[in-house]
């Protein structure tokens, strides 16, 4: 049957388009305008060309924040993806135990970002926090306000606590959708548990894992609230990620021009990563 193409359907999209124009496109255009000017105040501004871009690109604090951000995101992925798949494999697949496990696993996802930060801020304190005291009791000198390594460990554990459940849920959904005959065939062939994982479960999980990697990468790349609450970017600048540096610049120092140039470049990097992930996902699905 010939499919009718009726472009009038586009009119139905207009409300969304107007909404997005107001809350995303217009502000973004303003940021672009700000990025080429020195903003002194309302109505007082001077055109400076690409000076802010040059300054930001060559700023060592921005460069180190960028490297820190990449490292953080990679560590988050390296920890949370295997952890999520591992826990999902252990969860019961049916019955009331399954429902209970899913609810328990999902609880951290319901906690607001700043509350997660506050919980861990107290939990990991070396003098009063349960976790902090426990670690110190084992003889390891652990103080996230003084040692960069401890601060990183705290942030990574906190992020895993908060977001690994998302990976677990995605992987669990992927595992549940594998039809039973695959497992039956594996049993007939006498496949080991490892072989079942390697040749049945892992390939079938590819779709959901790509989504998990994409979501966790994007979220960790844009992380702000939790490190802001727990470490405030310190000690020194050891946990000053891109967004923290950006907010310090825009709100703390009120350098709107440089902050605008910075956020545009931040946006471009995220756009590039998103496109790469999106393309990989599309290629995966086509296969």
């Amino acid at each position: 049957m010939h499919k009718l193409e009726d472009n009038r359907a586009w009119f139905l999209v207009i409300p969304v388009f107007v909404l997005v124009a107001f809350n995303a496109v217009v502000p973004l255009m303003t940021v672009v305008n700000y990025s080429v000017q020195d903003i002194f105040g309302p109505g007082q501004r001077a055109f400076v060309g690409v000076e802010w871009f040059r300054e930001m690109l060559r700023d060592p604090t921005v460069q180190s924040a960028f490297l820190r951000q990449i490292l953080f995101s990679l560590l988050v992925l390296a920890m949370q993806i295997p952890l999520g798949v591992g826990v999902a494999l252990l969860l019961p697949r049916s019955g009331w135990k399954s429902s209970l496990a899913i609810i328990l696993v999902a609880i951290p996802l319901l906690v607001p970002f700043n509350v997660v930060g506050t919980i861990w801020q107290v939990y990991a304190r070396p003098e009063i926090g349960l976790f902090g005291r426990l670690i110190n009791a084992t003889g390891i000198d652990y103080n996230y306000t003084a040692s960069p390594l401890a601060a990183w460990v705290t942030l990574l554990l906190m992020d895993a606590w908060h977001w690994a459940p998302l990976v677990i849920l995605l992987a669990f959904a992927g595992l549940c959708s594998i039809p039973e005959p695959y497992y039956q065939a594996a049993r007939i062939d006498g496949a080991s548990r490892a072989a079942v994982f390697r040749f049945i479960e892992l390939p079938k999980l590819r779709g959901v894992l790509t989504i998990a990697v994409l979501l966790r990468f994007m979220d960790s790349f844009m992380i702000y609230t939790e490190p802001f609450v727990v470490t405030g970017g310190g000690p020194g600048s050891s946990t000053t990620f891109l967004s923290i540096r950006l907010v310090n610049m825009a709100v703390g120092q009120f350098d709107l021009g440089p902050a605008a140039a910075f956020s545009l470049m931040y946006f471009l990097v995220i756009l590039l990563f998103s496109y790469v992930f999106y393309t990989i996902m599309k290629l995966n699905n086509a296969r």
Binding site: V32, N33, V50, F53, L57, R58, L268
Partner: protein
Amino acid sequence: MDLEWMAWTTPTAVFFAVIVLLLASMTVAQVLWPTTERKGLLPMPTTRGDRLFLALIAAAFLHLGFVYATDMETFWLPFGLSVALGLLILRFG
């Protein structure tokens, strides 16, 4: 309507006008000659819109690289390179 809060400048206005023109001409092109996904020099199959997006992203990073590496205030070199690269991506990508 007072648009002073948006802090418009001529260069940024020209920039957005060009983007709008590009999108408009892509729409017209889509109506006249609907695009199909095809595989060219790029590692994945792309539509015309994909290739335009890639050309724009490539242009952005090319300019940023130029700004980072040199102290020049004129941008005809990266601009020319971007246009050439963009056309290459659009035609053969």
